[in-house]
Symmetry: C2
Subunit: 217 residues, 2 copies
Protein backbone atom coordinates (compact mmCIF):
# COMPACT_ATOMS: atom_id res chain seq x y z
CA UNK A 1 0.00 0.00 0.00
CA UNK A 2 1.66 3.26 -1.17
CA UNK A 3 2.27 6.38 0.84
CA UNK A 4 -0.30 8.94 1.86
CA UNK A 5 1.58 12.17 2.42
CA UNK A 6 -0.85 15.11 2.17
CA UNK A 7 1.63 17.40 0.37
CA UNK A 8 0.06 20.83 -0.02
CA UNK A 9 -3.47 19.79 -0.89
CA UNK A 10 -5.59 22.92 -0.54
CA UNK A 11 -8.11 20.77 1.32
CA UNK A 12 -9.41 17.26 1.17
CA UNK A 13 -10.70 18.05 -2.32
CA UNK A 14 -14.26 16.88 -1.61
CA UNK A 15 -16.04 13.89 -0.19
CA UNK A 16 -14.41 10.66 -1.35
CA UNK A 17 -16.02 10.13 -4.76
CA UNK A 18 -19.39 8.42 -4.64
CA UNK A 19 -22.22 8.00 -7.11
CA UNK A 20 -23.09 9.86 -10.27
CA UNK A 21 -25.11 13.06 -10.11
CA UNK A 22 -24.34 14.90 -13.32
CA UNK A 23 -25.25 13.52 -16.72
CA UNK A 24 -21.64 13.18 -17.79
CA UNK A 25 -20.82 10.77 -14.98
CA UNK A 26 -23.83 8.59 -15.73
CA UNK A 27 -22.45 8.17 -19.21
CA UNK A 28 -19.13 7.15 -17.72
CA UNK A 29 -20.73 4.55 -15.47
CA UNK A 30 -22.79 3.18 -18.35
CA UNK A 31 -19.72 2.95 -20.56
CA UNK A 32 -17.89 1.09 -17.81
CA UNK A 33 -20.68 -1.43 -17.30
CA UNK A 34 -20.97 -1.96 -21.03
CA UNK A 35 -17.23 -2.41 -21.47
CA UNK A 36 -17.07 -4.77 -18.50
CA UNK A 37 -19.77 -6.97 -19.98
CA UNK A 38 -18.10 -6.99 -23.38
CA UNK A 39 -14.66 -7.85 -22.00
CA UNK A 40 -16.00 -10.44 -19.58
CA UNK A 41 -17.53 -12.25 -22.53
CA UNK A 42 -14.46 -11.92 -24.71
CA UNK A 43 -11.75 -12.61 -22.14
CA UNK A 44 -13.29 -14.24 -19.08
CA UNK A 45 -13.22 -12.92 -15.56
CA UNK A 46 -9.55 -12.99 -14.68
CA UNK A 47 -8.29 -11.80 -18.04
CA UNK A 48 -10.68 -8.86 -17.89
CA UNK A 49 -8.26 -6.41 -16.28
CA UNK A 50 -9.55 -3.17 -14.90
CA UNK A 51 -7.05 -1.26 -17.05
CA UNK A 52 -8.38 -2.94 -20.17
CA UNK A 53 -11.97 -2.29 -19.14
CA UNK A 54 -11.27 1.39 -18.56
CA UNK A 55 -9.51 1.68 -21.91
CA UNK A 56 -12.34 -0.05 -23.74
CA UNK A 57 -14.88 2.17 -22.04
CA UNK A 58 -12.87 5.17 -23.17
CA UNK A 59 -12.34 6.43 -19.64
CA UNK A 60 -9.31 6.51 -17.42
CA UNK A 61 -8.51 3.86 -14.87
CA UNK A 62 -8.91 6.46 -12.18
CA UNK A 63 -12.49 7.17 -13.17
CA UNK A 64 -13.26 3.49 -12.90
CA UNK A 65 -12.16 3.46 -9.27
CA UNK A 66 -14.18 6.59 -8.53
CA UNK A 67 -17.39 4.69 -9.11
CA UNK A 68 -16.43 1.12 -8.24
CA UNK A 69 -14.17 0.49 -5.25
CA UNK A 70 -12.87 -2.77 -6.65
CA UNK A 71 -13.00 -5.04 -9.63
CA UNK A 72 -15.39 -7.27 -7.73
CA UNK A 73 -17.77 -4.37 -7.15
CA UNK A 74 -17.69 -3.52 -10.84
CA UNK A 75 -18.52 -7.07 -11.88
CA UNK A 76 -21.16 -7.20 -9.19
CA UNK A 77 -22.85 -4.19 -10.74
CA UNK A 78 -22.85 -5.94 -14.11
CA UNK A 79 -24.43 -8.98 -12.49
CA UNK A 80 -27.13 -6.83 -10.92
CA UNK A 81 -28.00 -5.14 -14.17
CA UNK A 82 -28.07 -8.39 -16.12
CA UNK A 83 -30.16 -10.20 -13.53
CA UNK A 84 -32.64 -7.36 -13.44
CA UNK A 85 -32.93 -7.49 -17.22
CA UNK A 86 -33.64 -11.20 -17.20
CA UNK A 87 -35.91 -11.35 -14.20
CA UNK A 88 -38.78 -9.24 -15.51
CA UNK A 89 -40.05 -11.58 -18.16
CA UNK A 90 -39.73 -14.66 -16.00
CA UNK A 91 -41.50 -13.08 -13.06
CA UNK A 92 -44.42 -12.08 -15.26
CA UNK A 93 -44.72 -15.63 -16.51
CA UNK A 94 -44.62 -16.99 -12.97
CA UNK A 95 -47.42 -14.64 -11.97
CA UNK A 96 -49.62 -15.40 -14.94
CA UNK A 97 -49.27 -19.17 -14.80
CA UNK A 98 -50.27 -19.48 -11.15
CA UNK A 99 -53.86 -20.39 -12.03
CA UNK A 100 -53.26 -22.22 -15.28
CA UNK A 101 -53.35 -25.98 -15.83
CA UNK A 102 -50.06 -27.85 -15.85
CA UNK A 103 -49.37 -28.04 -19.56
CA UNK A 104 -50.22 -24.41 -20.28
CA UNK A 105 -48.29 -23.21 -17.27
CA UNK A 106 -45.23 -25.29 -18.16
CA UNK A 107 -45.23 -24.02 -21.72
CA UNK A 108 -45.51 -20.41 -20.59
CA UNK A 109 -42.64 -20.70 -18.15
CA UNK A 110 -40.42 -22.50 -20.63
CA UNK A 111 -41.07 -19.91 -23.32
CA UNK A 112 -40.35 -17.10 -20.87
CA UNK A 113 -37.08 -18.65 -19.73
CA UNK A 114 -35.91 -19.09 -23.28
CA UNK A 115 -36.79 -15.50 -24.02
CA UNK A 116 -34.96 -14.32 -20.92
CA UNK A 117 -31.83 -16.19 -21.95
CA UNK A 118 -31.83 -14.44 -25.26
CA UNK A 119 -31.02 -11.11 -23.64
CA UNK A 120 -27.30 -11.84 -23.31
CA UNK A 121 -26.57 -15.55 -23.43
CA UNK A 122 -22.78 -15.41 -23.40
CA UNK A 123 -22.66 -12.88 -20.60
CA UNK A 124 -25.06 -15.07 -18.67
CA UNK A 125 -22.76 -18.04 -19.07
CA UNK A 126 -19.66 -16.19 -17.92
CA UNK A 127 -21.43 -14.72 -14.94
CA UNK A 128 -22.88 -18.04 -13.90
CA UNK A 129 -19.69 -19.97 -14.33
CA UNK A 130 -16.90 -17.69 -13.27
CA UNK A 131 -18.31 -15.10 -10.94
CA UNK A 132 -19.70 -17.14 -8.05
CA UNK A 133 -16.32 -18.20 -6.74
CA UNK A 134 -15.28 -14.60 -6.35
CA UNK A 135 -17.63 -13.83 -3.54
CA UNK A 136 -21.21 -13.33 -2.60
CA UNK A 137 -22.23 -12.29 -6.10
CA UNK A 138 -25.06 -14.74 -6.10
CA UNK A 139 -27.77 -12.54 -7.55
CA UNK A 140 -28.25 -15.00 -10.39
CA UNK A 141 -28.66 -17.92 -8.04
CA UNK A 142 -31.14 -15.84 -6.10
CA UNK A 143 -33.31 -15.59 -9.20
CA UNK A 144 -32.99 -19.34 -9.62
CA UNK A 145 -34.17 -19.85 -6.07
CA UNK A 146 -37.05 -17.48 -6.65
CA UNK A 147 -38.17 -19.51 -9.66
CA UNK A 148 -37.76 -22.70 -7.71
CA UNK A 149 -39.90 -21.41 -4.86
CA UNK A 150 -42.62 -20.24 -7.24
CA UNK A 151 -42.73 -23.59 -9.02
CA UNK A 152 -42.85 -25.42 -5.71
CA UNK A 153 -45.79 -23.24 -4.67
CA UNK A 154 -47.49 -23.91 -8.00
CA UNK A 155 -47.11 -27.67 -7.53
CA UNK A 156 -48.59 -27.41 -4.04
CA UNK A 157 -51.60 -25.43 -5.27
CA UNK A 158 -52.20 -27.79 -8.18
CA UNK A 159 -51.45 -30.97 -6.25
CA UNK A 160 -54.41 -32.79 -7.75
CA UNK A 161 -53.21 -32.20 -11.31
CA UNK A 162 -49.92 -34.09 -11.04
CA UNK A 163 -48.37 -37.14 -9.45
CA UNK A 164 -45.48 -35.61 -7.50
CA UNK A 165 -45.50 -36.20 -3.75
CA UNK A 166 -42.36 -34.31 -2.89
CA UNK A 167 -43.04 -30.87 -4.33
CA UNK A 168 -39.60 -29.61 -3.47
CA UNK A 169 -37.92 -32.47 -5.29
CA UNK A 170 -40.26 -32.14 -8.25
CA UNK A 171 -39.61 -28.43 -8.50
CA UNK A 172 -35.89 -29.10 -8.37
CA UNK A 173 -36.19 -31.61 -11.21
CA UNK A 174 -38.37 -29.36 -13.36
CA UNK A 175 -36.45 -26.14 -12.87
CA UNK A 176 -33.05 -27.76 -13.24
CA UNK A 177 -34.08 -29.57 -16.41
CA UNK A 178 -35.72 -26.56 -18.02
CA UNK A 179 -32.91 -24.23 -17.06
CA UNK A 180 -30.27 -26.65 -18.40
CA UNK A 181 -32.13 -27.23 -21.67
CA UNK A 182 -32.63 -23.53 -22.18
CA UNK A 183 -29.01 -22.85 -21.45
CA UNK A 184 -27.72 -25.65 -23.64
CA UNK A 185 -29.99 -24.74 -26.52
CA UNK A 186 -28.99 -21.09 -26.50
CA UNK A 187 -25.29 -21.82 -26.23
CA UNK A 188 -24.80 -25.08 -28.10
CA UNK A 189 -27.77 -25.41 -30.44
CA UNK A 190 -28.91 -21.92 -31.34
CA UNK A 191 -30.49 -23.32 -34.51
CA UNK A 192 -33.10 -24.98 -32.28
CA UNK A 193 -34.34 -21.54 -31.33
CA UNK A 194 -34.64 -20.06 -34.81
CA UNK A 195 -37.89 -18.38 -35.76
CA UNK A 196 -39.29 -21.57 -37.36
CA UNK A 197 -38.05 -24.19 -34.92
CA UNK A 198 -38.34 -22.49 -31.52
CA UNK A 199 -41.95 -23.64 -31.19
CA UNK A 200 -40.90 -27.23 -31.75
CA UNK A 201 -38.26 -27.01 -29.07
CA UNK A 202 -40.71 -25.48 -26.61
CA UNK A 203 -43.13 -28.31 -27.41
CA UNK A 204 -40.44 -30.85 -26.74
CA UNK A 205 -39.39 -29.43 -23.38
CA UNK A 206 -43.03 -29.02 -22.41
CA UNK A 207 -43.56 -32.70 -23.20
CA UNK A 208 -40.65 -33.55 -20.94
CA UNK A 209 -42.16 -31.68 -18.00
CA UNK A 210 -45.75 -32.72 -18.61
CA UNK A 211 -44.74 -36.34 -19.04
CA UNK A 212 -42.90 -36.15 -15.76
CA UNK A 213 -45.79 -34.56 -13.87
CA UNK A 214 -48.74 -36.29 -15.47
CA UNK A 215 -51.08 -38.02 -12.97
CA UNK A 216 -51.07 -41.55 -14.45
CA UNK A 217 -49.52 -43.47 -17.28
Amino acid sequence: MPQRKPTRSRKPPTKPRKSASQARSRLTVDALLEATARILVKEGYDRASTNKIAMTAGVSIGSLYQYFPSKEALVSAVVDRHTREMAGEVREALDRMASWPVETAARALIAAMIEAHRVAPQLHRILEEQVPRVGRLENIKALDREIHAAVRAYLATHANEHRADDHDLAAFVCVTAVEALTHAAVLQRPELLSRERAGMFIDEVTRLIVGYLQPKR
Copy 2:
Protein backbone atom coordinates in the same frame (compact mmCIF):
# COMPACT_ATOMS: atom_id res chain seq x y z
CA MET B 1 11.79 -13.61 -22.76
CA PRO B 2 15.11 -13.73 -20.86
CA GLN B 3 18.57 -14.32 -22.26
CA ARG B 4 20.03 -17.62 -23.41
CA LYS B 5 23.79 -17.22 -23.20
CA PRO B 6 25.46 -20.67 -23.21
CA THR B 7 28.15 -19.72 -20.66
CA ARG B 8 30.51 -22.64 -20.14
CA SER B 9 28.01 -25.45 -20.09
CA ARG B 10 30.03 -28.67 -20.38
CA LYS B 11 27.53 -29.73 -23.02
CA PRO B 12 23.86 -29.33 -23.59
CA PRO B 13 23.33 -31.36 -20.40
CA THR B 14 21.01 -33.91 -21.99
CA LYS B 15 17.99 -33.96 -24.18
CA PRO B 16 15.55 -31.24 -23.16
CA ARG B 17 13.73 -33.00 -20.29
CA LYS B 18 10.87 -35.19 -21.42
CA SER B 19 8.80 -37.88 -19.75
CA ALA B 20 9.43 -39.93 -16.65
CA SER B 21 11.50 -43.09 -16.84
CA GLN B 22 12.72 -43.68 -13.32
CA ALA B 23 10.40 -44.38 -10.41
CA ARG B 24 11.31 -41.18 -8.61
CA SER B 25 10.16 -38.97 -11.45
CA ARG B 26 6.86 -40.76 -11.72
CA LEU B 27 6.26 -39.86 -8.10
CA THR B 28 7.02 -36.25 -8.91
CA VAL B 29 4.57 -36.19 -11.80
CA ASP B 30 1.86 -37.83 -9.67
CA ALA B 31 2.43 -35.35 -6.87
CA LEU B 32 2.13 -32.50 -9.36
CA LEU B 33 -1.13 -33.80 -10.83
CA GLU B 34 -2.55 -34.36 -7.37
CA ALA B 35 -1.53 -30.92 -6.16
CA THR B 36 -2.90 -29.31 -9.30
CA ALA B 37 -6.29 -30.93 -8.80
CA ARG B 38 -6.37 -29.95 -5.13
CA ILE B 39 -5.44 -26.33 -5.79
CA LEU B 40 -7.75 -26.00 -8.78
CA VAL B 41 -10.63 -27.00 -6.53
CA LYS B 42 -9.55 -24.74 -3.69
CA GLU B 43 -8.52 -21.66 -5.64
CA GLY B 44 -9.92 -21.85 -9.16
CA TYR B 45 -7.96 -21.87 -12.38
CA ASP B 46 -6.32 -18.48 -12.39
CA ARG B 47 -5.50 -18.38 -8.71
CA ALA B 48 -3.81 -21.76 -9.00
CA SER B 49 -0.32 -20.46 -9.65
CA THR B 50 2.35 -22.82 -10.84
CA ASN B 51 4.56 -21.74 -7.95
CA LYS B 52 1.86 -22.66 -5.47
CA ILE B 53 1.22 -25.97 -7.19
CA ALA B 54 4.89 -26.88 -7.10
CA MET B 55 5.13 -25.94 -3.43
CA THR B 56 2.05 -27.95 -2.53
CA ALA B 57 3.38 -30.92 -4.44
CA GLY B 58 6.61 -30.64 -2.52
CA VAL B 59 8.74 -30.19 -5.63
CA SER B 60 10.51 -27.21 -7.08
CA ILE B 61 9.03 -24.96 -9.71
CA GLY B 62 11.80 -26.06 -12.05
CA SER B 63 10.75 -29.70 -11.80
CA LEU B 64 7.20 -28.75 -12.73
CA TYR B 65 8.41 -27.23 -15.97
CA GLN B 66 10.55 -30.27 -16.73
CA TYR B 67 7.42 -32.38 -17.15
CA PHE B 68 4.84 -29.83 -18.25
CA PRO B 69 5.85 -27.14 -20.71
CA SER B 70 3.17 -24.76 -19.50
CA LYS B 71 0.44 -24.31 -16.97
CA GLU B 72 -2.06 -25.16 -19.66
CA ALA B 73 -0.33 -28.47 -20.34
CA LEU B 74 -0.37 -29.30 -16.66
CA VAL B 75 -4.08 -28.61 -16.33
CA SER B 76 -4.67 -30.50 -19.54
CA ALA B 77 -3.03 -33.56 -18.02
CA VAL B 78 -5.33 -33.28 -15.01
CA VAL B 79 -8.32 -33.07 -17.34
CA ASP B 80 -7.17 -36.18 -19.18
CA ARG B 81 -6.77 -38.16 -16.03
CA HIS B 82 -10.11 -37.06 -14.60
CA THR B 83 -11.99 -37.72 -17.82
CA ARG B 84 -10.48 -41.19 -18.07
CA GLU B 85 -11.55 -41.92 -14.52
CA MET B 86 -15.12 -40.85 -15.21
CA ALA B 87 -15.51 -42.38 -18.63
CA GLY B 88 -15.08 -46.05 -17.70
CA GLU B 89 -18.24 -46.51 -15.74
CA VAL B 90 -20.39 -44.55 -18.17
CA ARG B 91 -19.04 -46.44 -21.19
CA GLU B 92 -19.82 -49.77 -19.57
CA ALA B 93 -23.38 -48.66 -18.90
CA LEU B 94 -23.77 -47.46 -22.49
CA ASP B 95 -22.59 -50.85 -23.76
CA ARG B 96 -24.80 -52.88 -21.47
CA MET B 97 -27.98 -50.89 -22.03
CA ALA B 98 -27.84 -51.15 -25.82
CA SER B 99 -30.29 -54.08 -25.89
CA TRP B 100 -32.39 -53.20 -22.86
CA PRO B 101 -35.89 -51.71 -22.86
CA VAL B 102 -36.23 -47.98 -22.39
CA GLU B 103 -36.94 -47.78 -18.68
CA THR B 104 -34.20 -50.21 -17.66
CA ALA B 105 -31.71 -48.61 -19.99
CA ALA B 106 -32.52 -45.11 -18.76
CA ARG B 107 -32.18 -46.15 -15.16
CA ALA B 108 -28.82 -47.81 -15.80
CA LEU B 109 -27.40 -44.79 -17.58
CA ILE B 110 -28.65 -42.37 -14.96
CA ALA B 111 -27.18 -44.45 -12.15
CA ALA B 112 -23.86 -44.69 -13.95
CA MET B 113 -23.68 -40.95 -14.55
CA ILE B 114 -24.39 -40.22 -10.92
CA GLU B 115 -21.72 -42.69 -9.90
CA ALA B 116 -19.24 -41.15 -12.33
CA HIS B 117 -19.85 -37.70 -10.91
CA ARG B 118 -19.04 -38.95 -7.46
CA VAL B 119 -15.41 -39.50 -8.40
CA ALA B 120 -14.44 -35.86 -7.94
CA PRO B 121 -17.44 -33.57 -8.18
CA GLN B 122 -15.75 -30.29 -7.33
CA LEU B 123 -12.84 -30.91 -9.65
CA HIS B 124 -15.35 -31.79 -12.35
CA ARG B 125 -17.11 -28.50 -11.87
CA ILE B 126 -13.95 -26.42 -12.03
CA LEU B 127 -12.72 -28.23 -15.11
CA GLU B 128 -16.03 -27.89 -16.89
CA GLU B 129 -16.53 -24.27 -16.04
CA GLN B 130 -13.13 -22.67 -16.10
CA VAL B 131 -10.89 -24.75 -18.29
CA PRO B 132 -12.62 -24.71 -21.69
CA ARG B 133 -11.90 -21.08 -22.40
CA VAL B 134 -8.18 -21.67 -22.01
CA GLY B 135 -7.87 -23.68 -25.16
CA ARG B 136 -8.68 -26.93 -26.79
CA LEU B 137 -8.99 -28.80 -23.51
CA GLU B 138 -12.32 -30.21 -24.50
CA ASN B 139 -11.84 -33.78 -23.40
CA ILE B 140 -14.82 -33.51 -21.10
CA LYS B 141 -17.05 -32.24 -23.85
CA ALA B 142 -15.80 -35.07 -26.02
CA LEU B 143 -17.16 -37.54 -23.47
CA ASP B 144 -20.45 -35.66 -23.51
CA ARG B 145 -20.61 -35.98 -27.26
CA GLU B 146 -19.81 -39.68 -27.02
CA ILE B 147 -22.71 -40.19 -24.63
CA HIS B 148 -24.96 -38.15 -26.85
CA ALA B 149 -24.05 -40.23 -29.91
CA ALA B 150 -24.62 -43.50 -28.03
CA VAL B 151 -28.03 -42.37 -26.80
CA ARG B 152 -29.00 -41.23 -30.29
CA ALA B 153 -28.00 -44.65 -31.63
CA TYR B 154 -30.01 -46.32 -28.89
CA LEU B 155 -33.10 -44.30 -29.76
CA ALA B 156 -32.70 -45.23 -33.43
CA THR B 157 -32.42 -48.93 -32.63
CA HIS B 158 -35.39 -48.85 -30.25
CA ALA B 159 -37.50 -46.54 -32.41
CA ASN B 160 -40.64 -48.59 -31.85
CA GLU B 161 -40.39 -48.25 -28.06
CA HIS B 162 -40.72 -44.48 -27.88
CA ARG B 163 -42.48 -41.56 -29.50
CA ALA B 164 -39.53 -39.40 -30.53
CA ASP B 165 -39.25 -38.65 -34.24
CA ASP B 166 -36.13 -36.56 -34.14
CA HIS B 167 -33.64 -38.85 -32.44
CA ASP B 168 -30.96 -36.22 -32.33
CA LEU B 169 -33.22 -33.74 -30.62
CA ALA B 170 -34.51 -36.36 -28.19
CA ALA B 171 -30.99 -37.44 -27.31
CA PHE B 172 -30.09 -33.82 -26.73
CA VAL B 173 -33.04 -33.39 -24.40
CA CYS B 174 -32.37 -36.59 -22.48
CA VAL B 175 -28.64 -36.22 -22.09
CA THR B 176 -28.80 -32.53 -21.22
CA ALA B 177 -31.50 -33.10 -18.62
CA VAL B 178 -29.81 -36.09 -17.01
CA GLU B 179 -26.41 -34.47 -17.00
CA ALA B 180 -27.78 -31.28 -15.47
CA LEU B 181 -29.76 -33.10 -12.80
CA THR B 182 -26.78 -35.24 -11.90
CA HIS B 183 -24.57 -32.20 -11.75
CA ALA B 184 -27.00 -30.13 -9.74
CA ALA B 185 -27.72 -32.95 -7.32
CA VAL B 186 -24.07 -33.65 -6.62
CA LEU B 187 -23.17 -30.00 -6.19
CA GLN B 188 -26.27 -28.39 -4.72
CA ARG B 189 -28.27 -31.20 -3.14
CA PRO B 190 -25.82 -33.86 -2.04
CA GLU B 191 -28.38 -35.08 0.49
CA LEU B 192 -30.44 -36.37 -2.44
CA LEU B 193 -27.67 -38.86 -3.15
CA SER B 194 -27.22 -40.23 0.34
CA ARG B 195 -27.27 -43.98 0.77
CA GLU B 196 -30.99 -44.05 1.59
CA ARG B 197 -32.30 -41.47 -0.86
CA ALA B 198 -30.16 -42.02 -3.95
CA GLY B 199 -32.55 -44.68 -5.23
CA MET B 200 -35.46 -42.28 -4.95
CA PHE B 201 -33.62 -39.65 -6.93
CA ILE B 202 -32.71 -42.15 -9.65
CA ASP B 203 -36.36 -43.20 -9.78
CA GLU B 204 -37.40 -39.60 -10.19
CA VAL B 205 -35.00 -38.83 -13.01
CA THR B 206 -35.89 -42.12 -14.69
CA ARG B 207 -39.55 -41.09 -14.54
CA LEU B 208 -38.66 -37.81 -16.22
CA ILE B 209 -36.95 -39.58 -19.13
CA VAL B 210 -39.46 -42.41 -19.47
CA GLY B 211 -42.37 -40.00 -19.31
CA TYR B 212 -40.77 -37.99 -22.09
CA LEU B 213 -40.07 -40.99 -24.30
CA GLN B 214 -43.16 -43.08 -23.64
CA PRO B 215 -45.11 -44.07 -26.79
CA LYS B 216 -48.55 -42.79 -25.76
CA ARG B 217 -50.28 -41.02 -22.96
